[in-house]
């Protein structure tokens, strides 16, 4: 599943050690899908997540440190995307995620999906974001006042 989705170009995935502009990524993605020669999808849903300026405890955040499990993280995202694509009949999926040191206001995650109808696009994108948050190996450490604190779990939906 994961392989076939990636082989036919329907899944594009990138982990970024440096800041990235989600709109530049989306433009590249749209261009690459258009280059495939198929008609643009009738529905496209995007989600951009950015780093908040405060910690879970309410203190000013200096930076977020994002650890991942190189190899497994990518493979796991590919599996999650393929499952979600199959369940919702998605045409294409794009996932970008920061790793390393991320500053407040920086984009940390981009999830973009396309489908033939709005419902699958919106539901599929939503579900894939939740899956990433709970099933893809990433760990956040909040740095505030020079002290790093590992974050246990995710912010409320």
């Amino acid at each position: 599943m994961a392989d076939s989705l990636q082989e036919n170009g329907a899944l594009q995935l990138q982990l970024h050690p440096e800041p990235f502009d989600p709109l530049v990524v989306l433009a590249d993605w749209q261009r690459s899908l258009a280059a495939g020669g198929t008609e643009p999808a009738a529905a496209e849903a995007h989600f951009i997540g950015r780093v908040r300026g405060i910690t879970a405890a309410g203190a000013p955040l200096e930076a977020l440190e994002l650890e991942h499990y190189a190899g497994m993280t990518e493979a796991q995202i590919a599996r999650l995307a393929a499952d979600c694509a199959q369940r919702h009949g998605l045409r294409a999926v794009r996932v970008d995620h920061r790793v390393g040191r991320v500053l407040p206001g920086d984009t940390i995650v981009l999830v973009a999906v396309s489908a033939d109808r709005r419902g699958p696009a919106q539901r599929g994108g939503q579900e894939l974001l939740e899956a990433l948050k709970h099933e893809a190996p990433f760990w956040k450490r909040e740095w505030s006042g020079g002290v790093g604190t590992w974050v246990a779990g995710n912010t409320a939906y």
Partner: protein, 87 residues
């Protein structure tokens, strides 16, 4: 002809808070050939990480989520993963 040639080699990896608590990120274990195959739960105790594997720690074997009780094949990479917080 030495024991190590036929030993069962298992790589154990720790991440994030677990890595820092333990003070190491990766260990390569050589288990005597012929010994019963260890499970991730066995290794957790054997490596002094704790008595029993806490429920919130997840296990990956060869980079796929796996049961803590599955016997490990020679050459396996076992990882202990603290609660995920991505996205």
């Amino acid at each position: 002809m030495t024991a190590s040639v036929t030993a069962t080699v298992i790589t154990v990896r720790l991440f994030a808070a677990l890595r820092e608590q333990a003070g190491w990120a990766e260990r390569r274990l050589e288990l005597p050939a012929g010994a019963p195959a260890p499970t991730p739960a066995n290794l957790w105790r054997q490596l002094g990480l704790g008595e029993t594997l806490p429920a919130q720690v997840r296990v990956a074997v060869n980079q796929v989520f796996a049961s803590a009780d599955q016997p490990l094949a020679p050459g396996a990479e076992v990882a202990f993963l603290p609660p995920i917080s991505g996205g």
